[in-house]
Structure formats: C-alpha cells, structure tokens
Subunit: 328 residues, 2 copies
C-alpha cells in the first residue's frame, strides 16, 4: 500500500513548518489567511488524509465506541444497533460492532480488544453467564452501558425493557383468550431478561389462581426452539409464550409441522416485535420493545458519561406494549 501523505510532506512542499500546517488544517485563528489557503491547497493536491491513530495517541480520545452484541443477525439487535449508530453519527462518533454469538469467552475477548483500541466507551449486551468482563470495566473506571439486561444491585448504567410487565401482559392476554395450559419456552434464566419474563408469566397465572404450567429453558436460536416443540409433541398445551420472536417464529413452524392450528389449537405469543413478526402467517402477537429507541438511549447514556454530564449510575427501564395479531 502506498504510504500516506503526512503533514510533514505538506510542510515541505509549502515551505512552512509542520506547526503551520497543523494550524491550517485545524482552523486555528493565529495564521495568515494566505498561508492557510496555500497549505490547504497543497494538502488537497497531495491527497492528505489525517491519521486517527496518531490523533488517538495524542489526544487520548478515539471518538469511537464499541458495541458488543450477542447476535447482530437477530433483527432485535440489528435494530438496536441502528439506533446506536444514529446517535453516534449525530455526535460524531464511530461505532465498532462485535458479535459474541452468546459465547462468554468471545464476550471477554471482545471487551478486551475494545479496551486495547481505547474506544471511548462500550455498549454491551452481556450473556450474564458470568461478569468478569463487566467487573473489569468497573475496575478500570471505563465508561460503559449495559443493554438489554439488568444486574442486581448494579452501580452502572443500564437500559432494558420492562420484562416483568412484558411477560405479564403476554400471559394475561393468553388467559383472556381462554388459554390455561400455557407453555413457556424460555432462554436460560441466568439471564435477567429470561428470569423477569418468567416472573411476569408466573404473576399473571397466579393472579388467575393458576400455577405456572410448564417452563423450559433452552439455548437461543431458531433451531433450538423448533426442535424443542417437536420434542414436546406429546405434551398437552393450548398456548406458547416464547422468550422472543425468533423462538415464536420457530414455534409457528413447528406447530404447523405437528398439524396444530394457530391460534385455535395453540396460541403463540412472542417478544420483541421484530419486523418479521408481522410478516409471518399467522402474524405474531408479541410484546413490543422500541428497539431503535433502546439503542439511541444506550448511546445517550454513554455519551453523558463521556462528557461527564452525569456521574451517577442511571437505570432506564423501557416500557413495553402488547401487540395483538393473528397468532393468539
């Protein structure tokens, strides 16, 4: 690769010092307009492109944030990412995205790399399998925001949705539809989201004088849920409340394979309201989270930290909303 033009090259060609070049490039006041014009012209002519690595080193600031997500191919995170990006652009920040594929080891590595890159801050959706990486960030006093989950007694910034309410709304809705044997397909409960959604499910049932019917924790992903439904084919249930829409879409497919009618035989409710939830047939009843907003707020929280507008931990809980469609 060709070597890049540096301010030194410009200085030489313009017959001035690098200092003057720097002044011209950065719109500093104390410079002769003529000199400035000349320098700028030469810079353009030579095709100068500043080196952000050098700037980072100099300034101790990268104007870059890191985002660590479980799975950016899940439309939920894709949408959140766009929200983050939107705000980042607005404030002139770059975003580095790292996927963990829900692998805690990868999560640790991702955080480590981002620190090595000295990103100004990090937005992370942790697996919650463990939290060494989070503790590391705390010890370093590194600015970060946890997205999507909640740690008990956390003293750092978090944004997540009201999952208890979501689980509650979904389940109550199914009860109102006359369903009683409500199966819940959940993610692993070490994740706060999974736990809260379960508690919402439980609460709604108990309010109706019922006990949780059956809850099963499985690995996340379409296949995983599809297989589970097939596996439970001899179980009797009249509704399924799924941890998220990816699960729910898998459930729809699996139920179809089992010749169950949705919602007559089995009603299905998902969570997240990804766009595909309304595209499937029957369209999916689900709990909506404003994903874009979640991403935007996550960035804003981080930005407040970076600019030290706020030093106290903030915990934002996003409201959720039940979206009734054909599957229930």
């Amino acid at each position: 690769m060709k070597k890049f033009v540096t301010i030194k090259d410009i200085a030489k060609k313009a017959g001035v010092s690098i200092n003057t070049v720097s002044r011209a490039l950065n719109n500093k006041p104390d410079i002769n307009p003529e000199t400035k014009k000349k320098v700028l012209e030469i810079a353009k002519e030579l095709g100068y492109i500043r080196d952000l690595s050098a700037l980072s080193l100099k300034n101790g600031v990268t104007r870059t944030i890191g985002v660590v997500f479980e799975d950016s191919s899940n439309p939920f995170y894709a949408e959140v990412f766009k929200g983050v990006e939107h705000q980042a652009r607005k404030y002139g920040y770059q975003v580095i995205l790292m996927n963990t594929e829900r692998d805690y080891i990868r999560e640790i590595q991702a955080v480590e790399t981002l620190i090595e890159k000295r990103v100004d801050g990090i937005i992370i959706s942790p697996t919650q399998f463990d939290k060494k990486d989070i503790e590391h960030l705390i010890n370093l006093n590194y600015p970060f925001v946890v997205l999507g989950v909640h740690f008990e007694n956390s003293q750092f910034d978090e944004i997540y949705s009201d999952d208890l309410k979501g689980g509650y709304l979904a389940t109550r809705h199914l009860l109102e539809r006359g369903k009683q044997k409500i199966l819940m397909i959940n993610a692993y409960m070490y994740k706060s989201v999974a736990k809260m959604r379960y508690l919402g499910y439980k609460r709604a049932l108990e309010e109706s004088g019922l006990q949780p019917y059956f809850m099963v924790e499985i690995e996340e992903g379409y296949e995983s849920c599809f297989n589970k439904i097939l596996e439970l084919k001899n179980m009797s249930y009249d509704a399924v409340f799924c941890f998220n829409d990816v699960f729910a879409i898998a459930a729809l497919k699996a139920l179809k394979a089992l010749n169950k009618r949705v919602p007559q035989d089995v009603a299905v409710v998902g969570y997240d309201d990804i766009s595909y939830a309304s595209f499937v047939n029957p369209s999916l009843t689900t709990v909506r989270i404003d994903k874009y907003k979640e991403g935007m707020i996550a960035f804003d929280l981080l930005h407040e930290r970076l600019t030290e507008k706020r030093t106290e931990p903030a915990q934002i809980v996003l409201d959720v909303e039940l979206i009734e469609r054909e599957s229930s």
Copy 2:
C-alpha cells in the same frame, strides 16, 4: 476515566528500562528469564493493557478491516457479515462495520473514516450510485474487496453471485409453473445486481418466445415494495419475481391484502434465501446465495491482498440455486 498503565509504569516499578519491558511483553529471546518473569508479574499486577493506537502508529498496521454495508439489518448482510467475522477472527483481525442505509453520501463518509482509521483493508457493498469512493481507494492503492456487485471492466477484487443465472432460474421456474404474465419488482438498475437479475428474467422469457412482461424499479425496503404492489392492484399478472426476499415478503403481505391467493392467483419468487424466507407462510420460493460463504471469501480475498499472496485482481462469481417452496 482512569489513566492506563504504560510500559513506562511497569519499567519504573520493575527497575528496568522500557525496552526490557517491551521485550518481556513480546516474548523476545534476548532477555533474562528471571527479568522477564518479574516484568510480566508486575505488568499483570498493574493491569497493563497495551495501546493498539500506539502500535498502529508504530507499525503502520491496525489488524482491523472495515466493512461498509448498505443495510446490516437486512438478514442478507447480517449473514454475510458473520462470514466475514468468522474469517477475520481466524486470522486475528478486528472488524469495523459501517452502515450506509443505501445513502451514497454516507458511503463516501464511511470509506473516508475507515481510511482515516488506517484499517488494513475494506470490504464494501457499494450502492453503485456513483463510484468516486471506489476510485479513491484505487488511487490510494488501498486494499479493498467489492461485495455483491460487479463493476464493468473492474480491475479490483470482487465477489458476487451469478445474478443472471439467478434471474433466469427464477423466471424459468415460474414459466414452468404455467405463469406467463410475470411482473418483476426490481431495485434500481444502476446496480449491477438489479440489472443482471433483470437480464436473467428477460432471457428466460425470450427463450419461451415471450417479451419481458413488466419490470418496475423501486427503492429498496419492505414498505416500498408493499406500496408498489398495492399501487399496481389493477394490473393483471400471475406471478411476481422480486429483487430480493425482503421485497418478496412484502409482496406476500400485499397480495394477501389484495385477496390474491399465493401461488394460485399469483406466484411469488424472491432472491437471497434469508432465513425468514422459509418462515413466512406460504414459505417463499427463492434463489439461494451462500451468504456466509460470500462473506468468508470476501475476507479471504482481502487477506490475500494484505499478505500479498496475490496481486492480480480476482473476480469470484458464486453459484446460485433455486429453492422451491410454497409460494410458487
């Protein structure tokens, strides 16, 4: 934010020079094992984390590549991205993702920023609205790979799918199903992909002694296609070949709204085979591209450049495959 520990800090505490610290940290041979051990211990104790900005500046290498995609929330790109990431991880590279939202201005900015960051190379899916940014990369002799599209007479690395074949397969399939009035909902034809898919459509029709029935170019995105189908509600057609699956899924929804039966009244074929293509109901007949592979190869092409294993431009054309499902 706390200041980071530097090799200088380690040196001071260990009572050695920074040079020695560097040697210990980088596993250099010419160092006393005892010294090394001691230095490493102190480094750990102090919580040393190397500064990649400084390394970049020193080495002129970032071990980072940039990826510029039209829309990473389209599952097509999400999947490609995973392929890129997979290979990048394998070779120890980081990946920066930038979305352009199909905005050419943003595309230019994205490329500019990546160059400023001195990423080692770039993988880009250009809008093809114009190609100033591509030319810039060429002029700089910057390593890059174009993904998903093809520029005529290009002298740089490209990976794209056999879109002519794809368009042909899709259309011939519809003809074989007895459809004759095949509407094509296309993206803008300044994109080579859109153009080639159209040419495939045309060829298949001409082979059957037919002329292209009707092709319309629209902006990409679900809404755009949904609205177009509604708009064309008085048109007579018995099949729709869509530029991609997002379009096709929108078409399914719109046709349902128009009370058309799929595939009896109108058959639908998409393109890409995103996972949701099989989740919708009726499931979608589509042209499959191996997206993960496309991403992996894109990285490999770039990596060959970076390591100078290859200097000649490579043009990889991925084969495609028709996946027959319920919508046709």
